[in-house]
Structures are given as C-alpha cells and as structure tokens.
Amino acid sequence: MKKNQLCEVSTMDDLQFRRGIYADPHNKDKTFTDEVLAEINSNPIKKQLSNDIKQLDDKIAKAINVEVPEGLVNKLILRQTLVNHQQQKRKSRIYLATAASVAFTIGLTFNFMQFSSAYDSLGDYALAHVYYEEAHFNNNMDAKISLASLNKKMAPFDGRFLSSLGQLISAEYCRFDEMKSLHLVFQGKTGIVTIFVVPKNNSLSFDDKFKDEKLNGTSQSFDKANIIIVAKPNESLQKWKRTINDNIQWSI
C-alpha cells in the first residue's frame, strides 16, 4: 500500500517534470526552482531527458530558422523611403489644396457678404452699396466723364441719355445683387449723387422711395431697367428723376 502510494507520487512527479521540461526546456519561465534543477542534474534519468529535449530543441530551432530572402533589409528600408516620400508629396499637395480652398472660401464669403441678399429690397441694397463705396468718392473729385462714354456704358442696358445729367465723376459697371449694373456718381449740391442702372429681373423687391438717417433714395422702373437714385436729403431727388426721364431714350 505504502509502496503503491510512493509509486504514484513518483509518477505524478515524473509527469509534472516531463511537462515542465517539454514546455520550458531552458527554464525561461522559472518552471523549476534552482533546487529542482540541481535535483534534475543529480538524477541520471531526468538529466538524460532534459538533455534529450534540449537537443530536440536545437534541431527544432535549426528547422524553424528558415532562410531569410536576400536583400530583405534593403527592400524594407527602400519601401519605407518611397512610401514616406509619396506621403510627403501628398501632404504638400493637401496643404496646397487646403490653402486654395481656404482662399476660395474667403473670397466667396467676402463676395457673399458684400453683394448678396442680406438685403431684401432695392433701397436697402442701394444704400448699403453707396456706404460701401463711400470712401472712394467725394464731391470735389474731377467730373470729366463725357456723355459719349456714359452712353457707351449704357449700351448693354439698351439705353442712352440725350444730354448730360450733371457733372459725372464716375461711371463703372458693378455688381448689384449679382447683376451687372451701372454705377454712376455725379457731383451734387453738397455731396455726391449716386445713380444705379440695374437690369429688371431682380430678386429684390422694388422700393419707390427709401431713406435712412443720412441718405434718401428713389427708384423708378422703366421697361428695360430700374434706375435708382441715392443722395443727401438736401438734394432734390424729384429734380434728378425728372432730368433722367427727360433725357433717357430706350432702344427698341
């Protein structure tokens, strides 16, 4: 009975030992304590098994260590260099594209804020436009624009003036609610008088008369265009309107 028990213990011990030595032949996981290792060394059978497994492991290592393709190092470094280079290029393209789209957006926003419909009537728009360009004009500027060159600019609107309306400081096309319009600046009594010639198809609602604390305005609708006059309150808009009506001639 006792002998049997001993046997069993020894078998258990043996199995444990075998498992340990197979799983961890070089004792990396400290499967065996130094004492047990010493014991293994002193037991010829265990020592033999331990050596066998180490030998087996050498063979496995030789078999597992397959040949590595020649030049793999260089390939790895080269590939990384190429990819990196492309990324760099792509990155700078992205930066450029980002810069371009930022610039584009700013431009768009600028235009939008300037000219688009935060305003819903002709009058509001005209006033805003006059204030926006206020700095460019004053009443003492040279007024040298001839009737001929004014009429040249009127041509796209199918209109012309028979005689001069007043002293003309500036006659330039501009965008009025995203439409090509004519922006005229005349000398007035104490300040400039602005006249817009705006094409008819207009999303803004028509204001016959409008004003704010500094400027008055009036609009008149013709067949081919609207004409808007903006000036200081001391200016007679009625008189300007009459002059225009007397002189305008629309081609058929």
Binding site: R18, R19, Y22, A23, D24, P25, K28, D29, T31, D52, I53, L56, D57, K59, I60, A61, K62, A63, I64, N65, V66, V68, P69, L72, V73, K75, L76, I77, R79, Q80, V83, N84
Partner: protein
C-alpha cells in the same frame, strides 16, 4: 522691431531644424529596428503562412505600419513583441481578405527540398514538414518561444491566452515532434537515400 523679426526667423529655423532632426532620428530608429528584427519577423511570418512570398509581403506590411506608428513605441525592449503583434493582425487581415475572395487554399507548401545537399538539411526539411503539420495552436507558441525567445508568460500576453494553456501547448508541440522522431527513424533513413 527688426531684432524681434530676426529672433523669429532664427526660432523658425530652429524649429524646422528640430523637425528634420526628429525625422532623421525616426529614420535611424526604423532602420535599426529593421536590421535587428527582420530575420525573426520573417521567420515568424513564414511559419504563420508557409509561403515565402506571402511571408515577405507580411513583413513589408508590418514594417510599414510600424513606421507609421513608430512614435507610439516607447520601449525599445518591447519592439519585438510589438512588431509580432502588428504582424499577427496583418496576417488576420490577409486571412479575412482571402476568405472573402473565396480563393481555394490548398495544401501548405513547405520549404523547398530542391537544393538538399547534406544530412543536416535533409533532417531540417523533414522536421519542417513535421512542424508544418503541427496544429496551428501548438505551432505558434513554439515558434514564438524558439524564434522570439519569449517566455511562456510573454507568449500568453501576445496570444491573449492563459499561461497554463500556453505551457500545455508548448508541451504538446514538443511531445509530437519527439514522437515523430521516435516513430520515423526509417523514414528519415529513406530521405538519406
């Protein structure tokens, strides 16, 4: 005012220099990593997929990913297990793709027997076949232990397994290979011709 501008220019230059120094440092780190670990990594890849070309591709992919994530590698000592983890993931992706492509995958092609010259190589090739025939779950820890020099503890972390499971699998892997040696001395004799 002028001096301030000058300072700015100098500082910007210094920053640019710093950036390019970092790039160079990263490049050196990468190259050292490649040189030190590509052999182990290739062999590990080979035993995962059993095909030389695929193994090479896996290693290439792994190092590319490693390059991109190199800044996240803080501890150089952990580099090997880090790379192996990347490679395992890469292999899983490859497997997923292959499964989706429904391509027929075939018997594993084992190391070529062509240029066999001496007994040592004959034995190596014979043993390679046996290793290739081990169940995947026994082979992988064995390869990691032998190639990577990892402990059972480390392998259990990499494979996300219980350490006892890893030790049991290591035991079984060696046990099967030992059995193969004991059962097939004659076969090897025939190889010897």
């Amino acid at each position: 005012m002028h001096r301030v501008d000058n300072h700015k220019v100098i500082r910007n230059k210094a920053n640019a220099k710093q950036v390019s120094t970092n790039m160079i440092t990263k490049q050196i780190r990468y190259e050292v990593l490649v040189r030190a670990l590509h052999t182990d990594l290739y062999r590990y890849a080979y035993w995962l997929c059993h095909e030389k070309q695929v193994a090479e591709d896996l290693v290439q992919e792994t190092f590319l990913r490693a390059w991109r994530a190199l800044d996240s590698l803080k501890d150089e000592k952990a580099a090997k297990s880090w790379l192996i983890t990347i490679l395992r993931r890469e292999n899983a992706r490859r497997f997923e793709r292959k499964r989706l492509e429904m391509s027929e995958y075939e018997e594993m092609s084992i190391a070529d027997n062509s240029a066999v010259t001496n007994e040592q190589q004959i034995e190596n090739n014979w043993l390679r076949e046996k290793i290739a025939l081990l169940p995947e779950e026994y082979r992988e820890p064995l390869v990691l232990q032998i190639i990577g020099g990892f402990s059972g503890e480390e392998i259990s972390k990499m494979l996300e397994l219980n350490k006892n499971t890893v030790m049991t699998r290591l035991f079984r892997a060696r046990n099967q290979l030992k059995d193969a040696f004991e059962k097939e001395p004659v076969m090897r004799g025939q190889y010897n011709g």
